[in-house]
Structures are given as structure tokens and as C-alpha cells.
């Protein structure tokens, strides 16, 4: 961190770079930007920069990031950037954990990985991948699970370029199969005991559900 507050033009340059290649550079670029924001006072230049950001709609392939569009203040922008940093750090950590597990090491699933998993669920491809992994874990059928995980890993690899190295081998798939039943629950921050309380419930007669009859 420098002692001199960055100029608005420097921030704009960082942000443009960030937008240009977010997947490859997100963590470092976003951190720089956050650091820069941390140094900024609420002044005219900041207001001007935030106003500029507020006109840019960030489209990150369906990721559940609050768009800058409509951001009212500096805190909004900071929150968005922080979520980007957290999510991508978490995702990176997730796959590093998978690699560790593949190598027979103990992997810790941290809260940022949980948060990342939830965030990335809204990405079309990766979300599908994660859901498939979760289903595979739930069914606990080794053959089915491995197959699902490999498909999921490929989808994840495609949709998140930063993890290409981590998820392609059958061996890793096998290890993930061992890791996932417990880890996915932890990653999702969910308890193993399913609570019986349901909000916004929709009840369907189980045997007649194909007719779509619901209460």
C-alpha cells in the first residue's frame, strides 16, 4: 500500500484492465482497486469516479455480483469489488483444496470457499457443475458420482479459466468423490441434519407430481 492516494485516472486504468480480462487478473486488479479505494477520501474526485463506475454495468457471465449500474455510493462499489475478490479467492482455494486432497493431504474448507460456491452457483455452467457434483454426492453412487464429477470438472474448467490445471484427471475425480460428500456440505455451509422447517414451501403429491398438481 502506498502513502500517496492514487489519482482517479490511475483507478480508472486499473478498472478498465480489470474489465478487459477479469478472469485472469481479477484478484490482483480488484485488490489494487480496493486498496486504492481504501486510500481515498470522500471528495469530488471520488464522487466523479463513482459516478463513472455507476454507468458501467458489469456483466460477468451471470455471476451473482451486484452490478455497478445504479451504485449510489463508494461503499456499494467497494462491496462489489470485495465480493469479486472473495469469490475468486474462494474458488481458487476450493480447487487448491481439491488438489491437496488429490495428493492425499488434508484440505481445509474455509468460509470464503463456502461463499464462493454459493456465488458461483448462479453462473450457468459452473452452477450446473456444482449442482451435478452436489447431486452426485447426495446419491453416493461411486460410478455415478465419478461420472458426474468429471463432467462437472470439465464444465468448471471451461467456465473458470483460472482452474484449468486442477480438475481434469480421473484420479482427481476419484479423490473428489471421496472429498465431496462432507466437503460439499461444509462448502455450502449446510448442516448434515436437514431442518424440517421450510420457508416458501410448495407441496406436490409425490405420486401425482408428474401431473403437476400442487397445493
Amino acid at each position: 500500500m502506498t502513502d500517496t492516494p492514487p489519482k482517479t485516472s490511475e483507478l480508472a486504468a486499473i478498472y478498465k484492465t480489470h474489465l478487459k480480462d477479469p478472469l485472469a487478473t481479477t484478484i490482483s486488479q480488484s485488490e489494487k482497486l480496493l486498496e486504492a479505494f481504501a486510500r481515498l477520501e470522500e471528495n469530488e474526485k471520488t464522487a466523479k469516479f463513482v459516478a463513472m463506475l455507476s454507468k458501467i454495468k458489469v456483466d460477468r457471465d451471470g455471476f451473482k455480483y451486484k452490478p455497478f449500474h445504479g451504485s449510489k455510493n463508494l461503499q456499494d462499489v467497494k462491496d462489489v469489488l470485495q465480493s469479486v475478490v472473495n469469490a475468486e479467492k474462494g474458488m481458487q482455494g476450493l480447487f487448491e483444496a481439491a488438489e491437496k486432497t488429490a495428493n492425499g493431504q488434508t484440505a481445509e474448507i474455509t468460509p470464503d470457499m463456502s461463499a464462493a460456491t454459493l456465488q458461483f452457483e448462479t453462473n450457468a455452467m459452473l452452477g450446473t457443475a456444482l449442482r451435478a457434483v452436489h447431486t452426485a454426492a447426495t446419491t453416493q453412487n461411486p460410478d455415478h458420482a465419478l461420472d458426474e464429477i468429471l463432467v462437472s470438472a470439465e464444465a468448471a474448467r471451461t467456465s473458470f479459466s483460472g482452474v484449468q490445471r486442477a480438475v481434469v484427471s480421473a484420479e482427481l475425480g476419484q479423490k473428489l468423490n471421496e472429498l465431496i460428500p462432507e466437503a460439499m456440505e461444509e462448502m455450502r455451509g449446510l448442516s448434515k441434519t436437514i431442518p424440517t422447517e421450510v420457508q416458501n414451501p410448495v407441496a406436490t403429491p409425490a405420486i401425482e407430481q408428474q401431473q403437476g398438481k400442487s397445493l
Binding site: T135, T138, T139, I194, P195, V198, N200, P201, A203, A206
Partner: protein, 82 residues
């Protein structure tokens, strides 16, 4: 058809799949609703929140939007109407 199978078949119309959320996470249950509590169950569902355990036996539960295929199949096999 054996007695158990006949009984299960007759209970089929009391087995409900309940989908919803718990603290923002999708969750599903299969519940064998107590026939006497069915009206209360229906009312509770419409109220926007339900504790499924209060209205019968929870057969299967899980996180996520949809139950796995094998659970759906098991329920159908076990409780399909004769």
C-alpha cells in the same frame, strides 16, 4: 401383492414432496402426511412456512432444488397407487 405393499400403495396419496428454502438454501422433503392433519398441512403450506415434521413422517430430505433420481424412484416404487 403383499399387505405392506397394499398399505404403502394406499398411503400414496398422503405422500407429499415439499420444496422450499431454509435460511436461503433450497431444501426438499418427502413427507407422509398424517391423514388427520392434512387440512392443517395444506393451510400451513399456503401460509408461507411449514415445519413438515409436525404433520407426519419425514421420509427423505435433502438440500438442493430437486431430490435425486434414486429417491424419486424409491418413493414411486414404494408408494405408487395399486
Amino acid at each position: 401383492m403383499g399387505f405392506t405393499a397394499k398399505l404403502s400403495g394406499s398411503l400414496g396419496n398422503l405422500v407429499y414432496q415439499v420444496k422450499g428454502e431454509y435460511q436461503g438454501n433450497a431444501v426438499w422433503h418427502y413427507v407422509l402426511v398424517d391423514a388427520r392433519k392434512l387440512p392443517l398441512f395444506n393451510h400451513s403450506i399456503r401460509s408461507g412456512s411449514v415445519d413438515v415434521a409436525k404433520y407426519g413422517t419425514v421420509l427423505y430430505s435433502g438440500w438442493g432444488d430437486e431430490p435425486p433420481e434414486n429417491i424419486v424412484k424409491t418413493i414411486h416404487e414404494q408408494y405408487k397407487k395399486s
